[in-house]
Symmetry: C2
Subunit: 346 residues, 2 copies
């Protein structure tokens, strides 16, 4: 099956319209007509080659919302006409301890990414900047109809990436949660942490987006460019979700954690970070990382978002605006996520 | 009250006999005749000035076991003749949230260290390398009579420093625990983790102490100088207790953690460590620190050790052997802790 898509032909080149082949619908597969695909910062890293060589041409997109148009003979959990979603992974071994525990993202065999990854059949996966995808039913999520389809797309990556550590480190009533950076991930972290009942503080470079932050659910907003911030907030948070991938002064942020507090990175700078271990010894602090979430947990997150009316703040664009959108993401000029209307792929 | 002691006269100078003044026994104080005082690596760091300027002369010693010889009028929990212990702290504010939660070591006002610290009355604390100490009863532990007094002394620092993170990160049956470094702290970690029911692996530079490690309770023993070790043990531990303060390749050790695994430093190198954050993202790993333990927890540890017959492996020395012992500690030539017999102080 030949379908329209937008692909990067090689590293650093602008994306352009193309067609790609989708596999036939297998017994456990779902054919999805893509309605919307979010633009994640990692799409840009990948096509720019920041994370090493890629199997070009690459069709990015792992924040996919669409409609089921065909299901394989063994598929019970999804039916034609259902609104579904696909996130960052489309397969894992399913048998290792991590997969069995619902941590497919940490599959011992390696999860298969939604694009630019080698699938179990040896082919290269291609993502959501296309009219259709064929995905193993076990990796297809149900997207509640109450959520706006376009605004729900970023939940599949930005949503689960922040929900998972907030849940794991027990954000909730009585917990003081800080979110570092108010971008695509950060704005989701604020909404979700607030809905979980935590007291939410945004730590942003400046106060430029303060009004937004408070509207989205933050209780407090501080500028990290102000050194007083680090003194005023010393030893005060139970959890810090760091959505900033750039190199930051980790030890300074760790100093903001109370006893047993954790700072969790959901992204990583390409270069190693330097860290003063004394800042961990004091207050029994932890510095941790978290990568998306498991499949069951992603469904749980979607249901949680439906229950609390949470979606992403999005700017919907046509496919031919993708390259311009990439420029604006790199310039932090988006509030807060671009989503491609894939009907414009023709 | 003038008592005999061994003190470092200035940074880097050998310790020498001296006399120091102990305060009068206040209403909530306990006067302890010191029987044994362990030698901790941090004693050496302190008197060498590695951790900044100190209020010399300094009498080190925060692994103290002794006998109560006098109690203040308000003291109910200790009586003359009791065998007691004093660890790394002799006071904290007692009113902040951390103190109230039993985390006095993380007192928001700062705990008062057993030596070289400024006490609440403005005087400088002096440690256990002396015939007597006067300590606030709330910071005096009961040392079970079933434990050998000399061998129990290191429990007050090395014991609680390893017990606390093992307990906090739930070492126990079904948990795979690695201990990095088999020294004063490491050998206690092995004994305690084994007694908690965990599967214990020692990660040591070489296999020199393998026989000891297995005798002390380790199930496995690997040399970290062998690069195959890091491949063979990838993603296999739930908890790593790092007792090595020297700079190590943290990212390599983090790679040994399974999903949700934690590596906990109980010491810290003076210089910052470099860390690849991707090693945290993968497997949702955490890098943490832990500093001694609270007072109630220290008592719990002592009772646990009595129940399981755990003490330190010690070499008892006379006070005039202290400087030689320091040299041997720095050369890692001790199995596994020196303890001063304070009756030799005259």
């Amino acid at each position: 099956m030949r379908v329209n898509a937008y692909a990067a032909p090689s590293a650093g080149q602008p994306l352009a319209p193309t067609t790609i082949e989708r596999r036939e619908v297998g017994a456990n597969d779902v054919l999805i007509a893509v309605d919307y695909a979010g633009i994640c910062h990692s799409d840009i890293h990948t096509v720019n080659g920041d994370w090493g060589p890629q199997p070009f041409p690459v069709v990015p997109g792992h924040e996919i919302v669409g409609t089921v148009t065909e299901v394989g003979s063994d598929v019970a959990r999804h039916a034609v006409g259902d609104r579904v979603g696909v996130g960052c992974m489309v397969k894992s071994c399913g048998t290792c301890d991590n997969c069995r525990n619902g941590d497919e993202q940490y599959c011992r065999d390696g999860m298969v990414g939604t694009y630019a990854a080698t699938d179990r059949d040896g082919t290269t996966t291609q993502g959501g900047y296309s009219t259709h995808v064929v995905v193993d039913a076990d990796y297809v999520l149900s997207v509640p109809e109450s959520l706006d389809a376009a605004a729900a797309a970023p939940l599949l990556c930005a949503g689960i990436t922040t929900y998972s550590p907030l849940k794991h480190w027990q954000a909730g009533p009585g917990k003081r949660v800080a979110v570092v950076g108010l971008g695509g991930l950060g704005h989701m972290a604020v909404k979700i942490a607030h809905a979980m009942g935590a007291e939410v503080t945004v730590l942003s470079q400046s106060l430029k987006k303060q009004e937004d932050g408070l509207r989205l659910g933050a209780d407090h907003y501080f500028a990290t460019s102000d050194p007083d911030t680090f003194e005023a907030l010393a030893s005060s948070f139970d959890l810090i979700i760091n959505t900033v991938s750039a190199k930051i002064d980790v030890s300074a942020y760790l100093g903001l954690l109370a006893v047993n507090g954790a700072m969790v990175n959901v992204g990583a700078p390409a270069e190693p970070l330097s860290l003063n271990v004394f800042s961990l010894l004091s207050n029994r602090r932890t510095f941790a990382g978290s990568m998306i979430g498991g499949i069951a947990e992603t469904q749980e997150m979607l249901d949680f978002c439906a229950e609390h009316g949470i979606v992403s703040e999005v700017e919907v664009i046509a496919a031919d605006q993708v390259n311009e959108a990439y420029e604006r993401v790199l310039a932090s000029d988006v509030r807060y996520r671009f989503v491609i209307d894939t009907s414009t792929l023709g």
